[in-house]
């Protein structure tokens, strides 16, 4: 078999540029597939990493009809907090009110997102999220008029870095910065945190919140807990009031969006591969015609039909694999480019890696696409009568 591959490689080498152009379709198709898979993997790695940071055992309760991250527009009534805390599988509940406003420091003003949390629980909630203070401290029970900053807000937002013990003004209210979070690589970095009661006063919102994170008791499965919470809450609330999301559900929501993007890429890939396959088939038919006499000679010196078929199949396969190799290079480069672009636009999480399994699979796949495209021409070559082939001018 190796003999025939080498033999075919030799005859491909002697072909003109024209034949090489026929593999462009394969190049584009494989590039689309490889970049698709590589970016897709990078994305889901990134997303899973994010979720791991946000706590895989936590259940989110959010206003119904919310399809993205929580915002100030969709609210949950205060009563839901107590009802949830009373459920047996619940260890405790972290609540958050989300608002945005102007933060003033050193005569500079910036618009920031603020998350207001219950200071009684804040320490514990932050610890469960693996969020720590890089500087100063986090909230203590009874805190008021204090603020903890995400690392980006503290270090990059303002010309002069803000540190613990600095005073700032938020929405015309004086706050003392008591701490700065260690960098997390998540959205937390660009938020500021204040006590819930302060936010209620500043924004005059006394009856609702925007999100709840339910910490499930150890030994209870997340799925079971979700079901029980839902059952209990439906006694007091309408199912149009709230949604219960487990990390898996959030993941699957995102995967649905990813899936749509992937379908578009897959369509491009399929069309290009088809074009490439037709191109290879055409090139191989031409090659068979041009080498009719050669085929006759090979048969005269003892080549069986199967030998001739193998020679042309491997020739088509090698063309496919060559296109595939270039496609892998292009696709990987594309994936890295997207990774860098994502970083430039502020998503530093997209980690693009070259997966040897994908590289090898793509090579085998493109070889097979080529070989399948060469099937008909190879059969035509194999079936030539030796005498007719030798007489061909």
């Amino acid at each position: 078999m190796k003999d025939y591959l080498l033999f075919s490689w030799n005859s491909i080498r002697h072909r003109g540029l024209r034949s090489w152009l026929t593999i462009v379709g394969i190049v584009i198709g494989v590039a689309a597939i490889v970049s698709l898979i590589t970016i897709g993997q990078g994305m889901s790695n990134a997303i899973e990493e994010q979720f791991e940071k946000l706590g895989i055992r936590n259940i989110r309760i959010v206003p119904a009809s919310l399809h993205g991250p929580p915002t100030s527009f969709f609210t949950l009534p205060n009563e839901i907090i107590g009802k949830t805390e009373a459920i047996s599988v619940v260890e405790y509940v972290d609540v958050a009110m989300i608002e945005s406003g102007t933060l003033e420091f050193n005569k500079e003003e910036k618009f920031v997102q603020v998350w207001a949390v219950d200071v009684k629980l804040a320490d514990r909630g932050f610890a469960d999220l693996d969020v720590m203070a890089a500087e100063g401290r986090l909230f203590l029970p009874g805190d008021s008029g204090v603020m903890v900053l995400g690392s980006t807000v503290a270090e990059e937002e303002f010309d002069k870095a803000i540190s613990a013990k600095n005073n700032v003004v938020f929405q015309d209210n004086k706050f003392r910065v008591v701490g700065v979070f260690a960098e997390t690589g998540t959205e937390i970095d660009s938020r500021v945190y204040i006590p819930l009661q302060d936010a209620r006063d500043i924004f005059n919102r006394h009856d609702d919140i925007n999100a709840m994170v339910v910490h499930v008791k150890d030994g209870v499965s997340v799925g079971d807990a979700q079901q029980q919470i839902e059952r209990e809450l439906l006694r007091s609330f309408d199912d149009e009031d709230f949604d219960i999301l487990t990390p898996e559900q959030i993941l699957s929501q995102i995967n649905t969006i990813l899936g749509a993007v992937q379908a578009v890429f897959a369509g491009i890939a399929a069309i290009s591969l088809l074009v490439g396959a037709v191109g290879i088939m055409n090139a191989m038919f031409t090659s068979v015609l041009e080498r009719t006499r050669e085929i006759g000679v090979m048969k005269a010196v003892g080549a069986k039909n199967s030998h001739i078929a193998i020679i042309f199949l491997s020739e088509a396969g090698i063309m496919g694999a060559a296109g595939g190799a270039i496609g892998i290079a292009v696709g990987t480069a594309l994936a890295f480019a997207v990774g860098f672009a994502a970083q430039a636009f502020g998503f530093p999480f997209l980690s693009i890696k070259v997966d040897p399994v994908i590289v090898i699979a793509a090579l085998i796949f493109s070889f097979l696409v080529g070989a399948v495209s060469g099937l008909l021409p190879a059969m035509q070559a194999a079936r030539l009568k030796p005498v007719d082939a030798l007489r061909y001018e």
Partner: protein, 224 residues
């Protein structure tokens, strides 16, 4: 020392259907070649010489009649069985050399051995030896286009010998080369016959045909 029968044609007909017309290229040809013989087939153009060679060389099926190689009727074998016979028992030399243009002299000589599954190192060594024996030891890596007509035909002869066939079949081997070089090629073929190879050669040239043990005249598809 002619011995057992190697090739035997019995009442062989070959009829080509060209649209409406039937061309009777062979019309009841009977003919025998013994082991170790050197037979020349002579005849005017269109008399069926090449067609006869296709029959002897297992390249084509007769329309009627039988072709025996080593007393086996090969006219009813499958295509792939014929391919094996061509590969192992027959060595072809053509008027147009028919070397593969992309392959070096060495690779051309290796080719028939590749189809017989001979390992690379063994076939490379044998191809080298054969090329040395036909006087092309210095031209192993040359492509056909870099060789003269006479040299190309020597490569073709080395290729024909590569699987040590029983019969060497040459169809006007000197037809495309000048007469001086042609005589050298003929000497080479005659020398192979003296070493014991059975040779069937088709030629136009009476003076070359005289080198053979026996001359057969073909006319209108049968022996005259």
């Amino acid at each position: 020392m002619p011995g057992k029968s190697v090739i035997r044609l019995e009442n062989v007909w070959k009829i080509y259907q060209m649209g409406e017309v039937k061309v009777e290229a062979l019309r009841g040809l009977s003919f025998e070649v013994s082991s170790g013989e050197f037979v020349a087939i002579e005849g005017p153009s269109g008399s069926g010489k090449s067609t006869a060679m296709n029959m002897i060389g297992a390249l084509d099926y007769p329309t009627k009649g039988s072709v025996y190689l080593d007393d086996h009727d090969i006219s009813r074998l499958s295509e792939s069985q014929l391919a094996v016979i061509r590969g192992r028992k027959i060595g072809f030399v053509f008027q147009q050399f028919n070397l593969l243009a992309n392959l070096s002299a060495l690779e051309n000589v290796e080719l028939p051995m590749m189809f017989q599954g001979v390992a690379v190192s063994a076939r490379r060594e044998r191809a080298r030896q054969l090329l040395v024996s036909v006087g092309l030891g210095e031209r192993l890596m040359h492509k056909p286009s870099e060789l003269s007509g006479g040299q190309q035909q020597r490569v073709a002869i080395a290729r024909a010998l590569s699987n040590d066939p029983e019969v060497l079949l040459a169809d006007e081997p000197t037809g495309n080369i000048d007469s001086r070089t042609g005589r050298e090629i003929m000497k080479l073929i005659a020398g192979l016959n003296r070493q014991g190879k059975t040779v069937v050669m088709i030629t136009h040239d009476r003076s070359l045909a005289k080198l053979a043990d026996r001359i057969e005249h073909l006319k209108d598809g049968r022996l005259a």
